[in-house]
Subunit: 98 residues, 2 copies
């Protein structure tokens, strides 16, 4: 399992619209092969800041399967105009804490 994690900054005053748009777009990502789960976390200290966490079965399910799909074009259309600056997406592997 791979965690896609991205800190997002949404344009001022567009927070509620963004949350609604991500809610609508959730059905896009959750229909993809290798999708496991996702959650949107709203920062309590910084207005307009969010942490998006998506679990994928493999790295390629996100970077190839989703990113190169028609569904990703729709995801971009619905969401990318909210972000300023445009975010950096990173992937993480869970460390086994004994």
């Amino acid at each position: 399992m791979i965690l896609e994690a991205v800190m997002l900054q949404v344009k001022k005053g567009m927070e509620k619209d963004y949350e609604e748009a991500l809610s609508q777009a959730s059905k896009i990502i959750s229909s993809m092969k290798g999708y496991v789960s996702h959650e949107l976390q709203r920062c309590m200290e910084v207005e307009g800041k969010y942490l998006l966490l998506v679990q994928w079965e493999t790295l390629e399910d996100h970077t190839v399967g989703f990113r190169q799909s028609n569904e990703y074009q729709e995801w971009k259309t619905q969401l990318h105009h909210f972000y300023d600056p445009f975010p950096t997406v990173e992937h993480f592997e869970q460390v086994n804490l004994r």
Copy 2:
């Protein structure tokens, strides 16, 4: 429930020692009032970068209960020397995605 999320940069070459130290320090944080769960995620793109995620019942369980405890002094001693730069800790509330 509140998510404490922090992007961490560990000093070069100290990654394995850090993972071992966090593993050891896990018993400190998991003994605290209001602690729910925690996980350490290792970045696949940036060496030495981690995402630490801790769930707390309330914001104050972290900011007051843990941060003002003797246990936090021990946590600091075991972990803070690994970080460069010193990280910014933020708190998040989950957005209800319909």
